[in-house]
C-alpha cells in the first residue's frame, strides 16, 4: 500500500492543493488574484518536484493499485507536460481574470483538477482508470469553458462542448463495455494477451471501432471534429488555449496507451481506420482553415490538422512512432500556447483579437510581440529553424520507416497548404499598414507577455537543439508498456 501511495503521490498532492486553492479563494474573496495565481503555480511546481521524487522512488516496471496504475517513463513524460501546460495556462489566465474581474479560486482549482484527471489518464493501464481520469478532465474543462459567464458566446460553447463531449464519452464507454464483454478484462496487458491468443469476435471488433471513434472525437479528428471550431471560438481564449493542448495531449496519451498497448494484436483491424482518419483530418483541417477570417476559428482548424499529423505517428507505431508523437506533443504545446497567448494579448473592440484584419500593422507598433507570433506561425507551419519543423521531421521519419510514405506525402502537401493561412497572419502583421481599420491595441498584460516570451524561446531552442528533448522523449517512449 505504501508503494501504491508513493506512485500516486503527485496526483494526491495536486488534488489536495487544488482543494486548498479552492478554499483559499473562497476565504479571500475575489481580489487576491496575485496570491492565488502564485499559489496555483507553486502547487503545480511542487507537484512537479513530487513527480520527480516519486519517479525516483518507484520502479518504472511496477504496477500499483491492483495492477491499474503505473508510473513508467511514458506517464512521467506526459505528467510533466501536463504540469507545464497547466502552469502556462494559469499564467496566461492571470491578466485576463484580473482585467475582467472574475473569481480566481474556482477557476484555478478546476484547472488543477483537470490536470489531476489528465495525469491519471497517462498513468492508467486499466480502461476503468483511464475512463474516470478522462471524465475528471472533461468535466472540469466543460465548466471552465462556461466559466466566464459574461461572455455570451461562451455559454453556447460550453453547452456544445458538454453535450458533444458527453456523447463521445458515451460512445467510448459503449466500446469499453463491448470489449469487456468480449474479453472479460479491462486490464490492458491482459487484454493484449487475450486478443493475441484467440481470434477476436465481432463484438470485440465493434468495441475497438467504437473506442477508436471515441478517441478520435477526443483528439478532434475528422470526421468527429465538428465541435472544435465552435467551441474554440466561443470559449474564453485562455481556456481555448488550454483545451487545444492539455486535453488533446492527454487524449493522445490515452490513445497511444490503449491502441499501441492493449489493442496491438488487433492492429491490422484498426490501423487503416486511424490512417484514413489521419489523412482526412490533415486534409480537411488545413483546407477548412484556409477560409477562416476569425483567428480563433483558424487556430481551431489548425489544431484539428495538427491532431492529424500526430495521428501519423500513431499509425507508424513502434518506439520511433510513439517517440515522435511524444516529442510532437511537447512542440505543439509550447507553440500553441504561445500563439493563443498572443491572441489573448490583443484586444479589439472589447473582444479578444477576433479577425485576421485586426492584426494589420502590428509589427510596427509591437515588434517584439509580432516577432513572437511570427515564430509561432512558422513553427505551426513547420518551417526551420523552429520546433514545429523538428517535430514534423520525426513524425515523418517514423512514418516513412514504417512504410507509410503515402501518409507522409499527404502530410507534407497539407503543410504547404497550411503555410498559406499561417502566413496570412504574418502578412497582416508585417505587410499591411493597418490604414483605414482601427488597429488592434495591446492591453497591458505582463504575465501573458512573459509566457509568450518563454514559449518563443522554447520554440527556437527546441528547433535548433532538439537532441536533449528527443532523448527525453525517447527514454520515455520505450515504456508504453507493451512495445
Amino acid at each position: 500500500m505504501r508503494a501504491d501511495l508513493i506512485a500516486l503521490l503527485p496526483e494526491l498532492m495536486l488534488a489536495t492543493l487544488a482543494m486548498a486553492v479552492l478554499l483559499a479563494g473562497l476565504a479571500s474573496g475575489k481580489a487576491r488574484h496575485g496570491l492565488l495565481g502564485a499559489g496555483a503555480v507553486l502547487a503545480l511546481a511542487a507537484t512537479g518536484v513530487t513527480l520527480w521524487l516519486a519517479a525516483g522512488a518507484t520502479d518504472p516496471g511496477a504496477h500499483f493499485f491492483s495492477g491499474m496504475f503505473v508510473l513508467d517513463h511514458f506517464a512521467i513524460f506526459f505528467k510533466a507536460l501536463f504540469l507545464l501546460t497547466a502552469a502556462l495556462v494559469v499564467l496566461l489566465s492571470h491578466d485576463y481574470l484580473k482585467r475582467n474581474d472574475y473569481r480566481p479560486g474556482e477557476y484555478l482549482a478546476l484547472v488543477m483538477f483537470a490536470t489531476v484527471g489528465m495525469m491519471t489518464m497517462a498513468s492508467g493501464v486499466n480502461l476503468a482508470v483511464i475512463y474516470v481520469g478522462l471524465e475528471l478532465m472533461a468535466l472540469s474543462t466543460y465548466i471552465l469553458a462556461g466559466y466566464f459567464r459574461r461572455e455570451v458566446k461562451s455559454h453556447e460553447a460550453a453547452a456544445k462542448y458538454f453535450v458533444l463531449g458527453a456523447m463521445s464519452s458515451g460512445i467510448l464507454l459503449y466500446g469499453l463495455s463491448l470489449i469487456y464483454g468480449a474479453t472479460g478484462t479491462l486490464d490492458l496487458a491482459t487484454l493484449a494477451r487475450v486478443l493475441a491468443s484467440a481470434k477476436p469476435g465481432p463484438s470485440a471488433l465493434v468495441g475497438v471501432a467504437l473506442l477508436a471513434c471515441g478517441f478520435l472525437f477526443k483528439v478532434a479528428a475528422v470526421p468527429f471534429h465538428v465541435w472544435t471550431p465552435d467551441v474554440y471560438e466561443g470559449a474564453p481564449t485562455p481556456i481555448t488555449a488550454f483545451m487545444s493542448v492539455g486535453p488533446k495531449a492527454a487524449a493522445f496519451a490515452m490513445f497511444l496507451r490503449v491502441f499501441i498497448g492493449g489493442l496491438a494484436p488487433l492492429a491490422a483491424s484498426w490501423i487503416w481506420l486511424v490512417g484514413v482518419a489521419a489523412a482526412l483530418t490533415m486534409i480537411w483541417g488545413n483546407v477548412a482553415a484556409l477560409t477562416q477570417d476569425n483567428v480563433k476559428r483558424m487556430l481551431a482548424y489548425s489544431s484539428i490538422a495538427h491532431a492529424g499529423y500526430a495521428l501519423v505517428g500513431l499509425v507508424a507505431g513502434g518506439p520511433a512512432g510513439v517517440n515522435s508523437v511524444l516529442f510532437y506533443m511537447l512542440v505543439y504545446t509550447v507553440t500553441n500556447i504561445g500563439a493563443f497567448g498572443f491572441v489573448i494579448l490583443l484586444e479589439s473592440r472589447g473582444y479578444a483579437g477576433e479577425t485576421v484584419a485586426d492584426y494589420a500593422g502590428l509589427a510596427r507598433r509591437h515588434p517584439a510581440a509580432a516577432f513572437g507570433m511570427l515564430l509561432f506561425m512558422l513553427s505551426l507551419g513547420g518551417i526551420p529553424p523552429t520546433a514545429g519543423f523538428m517535430g514534423k521531421l520525426y513524425l515523418f521519419a517514423a512514418a516513412v520507416n514504417a512504410g507509410y510514405v503515402w501518409l507522409v506525402v499527404v502530410a507534407v502537401l497539407m503543410s504547404a497548404v497550411s503555410l498559406y493561412y499561417y502566413l496570412r497572419i504574418v502578412l497582416q502583421m508585417y505587410l499591411r499598414e493597418g490604414d483605414g481599420a482601427e488597429p488592434a491595441t495591446l492591453v497591458a498584460a505582463p504575465w501573458t507577455e512573459r509566457v509568450i516570451w518563454a514559449c518563443g524561446v522554447a520554440v527556437l531552442v527546441i528547433g535548433l537543439l532538439p537532441a536533449p528533448f528527443l532523448a527525453a522523449a525517447r527514454a520515455m517512449a520505450g515504456a508504453v508498456g507493451l512495445l
Partner: protein, 497 residues
Amino acid sequence: MPTDFLLSAIVLTPGVVGLLLLATPREAVRLQRWVSLLASVATLVFAAVAWSRIDPANASFQFVEARTWLPSLGIGYRLGMDGISLVLVLLTALLQPIVFISSWRSIHDKVKGYVVAMLLLETGVLGAFLATDMFLFYVFWELMLVPMYFIIGVWGGERRIYAAVKFVLFTLAGSLLMLVAIIYLSFVFHSQTGTWSFAYEDMLRASVPMGQGFWHSPQMLLFAAFALAFAIKVPIFPLHTWLPDAHTEAPTGGSIILAGVLLKLGTYGLLRFNRPLFPEAWQRATPLFLTLAVIGIVYGALVAWAQKDMKKLVAYSSVTHMGFIVLGLFAGTLTSTQGALLQMVNHGLSTGALFLLVGVVYDRRHTRMIEDFGGLAAVMPLYTGAFLIATLSSIGLPGLNGFVGEFLILTGAFPRHPAVVAVAATGVVLGAVYMLSLVRRVFWNPLAIEANRSLPDLTWREVLAFAPLAFFMVWIGVHPGTFLSLSEAAVRRLIGG
C-alpha cells in the same frame, strides 16, 4: 589563417550579424547600413580566402566541418566545399555587398528589417551551397523562404503581397516533397547498411532501386521529388509562372539576389543531387528535361520580346538563360556541364547588373515602362555605357562572359543532341533581338519626354556597385580558364566522366 572554421565563418557571419542587428534601435539606420555592408564584405573576404586555399585538383570536399546535431538519425552539421560550391559561393558573396550598396538610398523605410532579412537570406544561400548533409541542406533551403517572403512582401511594388504568397507556396510545395524524398533516401541507406545517416557522401553510396515504370520505381520517384523542388526554383518551363511576378514586385536588391543566386540553387541542386544520386533516372528523364529546357529558351525569349516593362523583360530573359543552363546540365558532357556551371555565374553577373541598372532609372523616374524612356544616351552617357556592357554580356558577345558559357553549353551538347542545339541556338538570336531592341528604344529613340531631359547620370555609389560586375564579366570573357579550372575536377567526379 586556419581553415578549421572557414566555412562556418562564411555561412554564419551574415546571419549572426543580422540577428545582432535585430537588437539595434529602429532609428539607427546608418549603423545598420554600415554594419550589414561590412558583414557582407567580410563574408566576401572569407570566400576569397577559401578561393586562395582550395586545391582545385582535389575533387572531394575540402575545409570539411562535421559535428553531430541529431545523433539518433545520423544528422550532422556538415559543411564542405568543392570547386562547384566555391564558384557559386564567390558569386553570392560578391553580389551581396552590391545589393547593399545599390539599396543604400532606395530602401529608406524599415531599413533594419531589410538588412536583417538580406543577411539571413545570404546565410541560407551560402549554407545550402556548402551543406554536405542532406538534412542541413534542407534546413538552409527553407531558411531562405521567410526572408525572401518579407523582402518581396514588405519592400515590393504594387502587387507585392500576391507575388510574395505565390513565391512561398510554389517553393514550399516543391521543397516539402523533397523533404519526404530526403527522409526516404536516408531510410534506403538505413535499410542497406543498418545505420542512420543524412550525410551526402553516405547517400552517394546508397543505391536506390530502379524498379519498373514510374510509380513502382523508387529511384524515379525520388528523382521526381528532388527535380520538382529544383525545377520550381530554376524555374523550368512550365513551372516558371511565379518568377515574373516575384521579380517584378521585388525591390531591386531582392531581384538581384533572386535572379543572381536563388535561381542557381535549383540548377545547383540538379547537378549536386539528382545527377549523382539517381543516375539511371537521370538518363531516363533526360529527353523530358532537354525538351522543357528548349521550350523554356524559345518561350522565354518570345515572351520577353513582347514585354513593355523593362524589369519584366529582364525577368523573362532569365527563363531563357536558365533554360540554357538546364540544357547544359542534361546534355551531360563535361564541356556542357562546365559551361552550365559557368553560365550560372554569368547569368548572376549579367542579370544582376541588368536589374541593378533598371533599378537606377526606376529610382529616378518611378516607372519601368519602356515607352516612358527614349534617348537616354544623350542624357546619361555613363549609364548608357554600363547598360550596354550588361546587355552585351547577356546576349553573349564574344569577349564577354556570356559568350563563353553559351558556347561551351552548345558545343558540349552538340555531338549528342544536335537537334536540340539547333533549336536552342535560335534562342541566342532571339535574345540578341529583344535585348538590342530594348537598348534602342530606351537609349536611342528620340528624347520625347520632358522629364527625361534632366535625369542625373550614375552616382559614384552606383558606379561602385556596377564596377565589380563589369570587371568579372570581362575577366570571365577574356580568361574563363581561371574559373573553369576551379570546378573541373569536381564536375568530373559528379558526372562520373
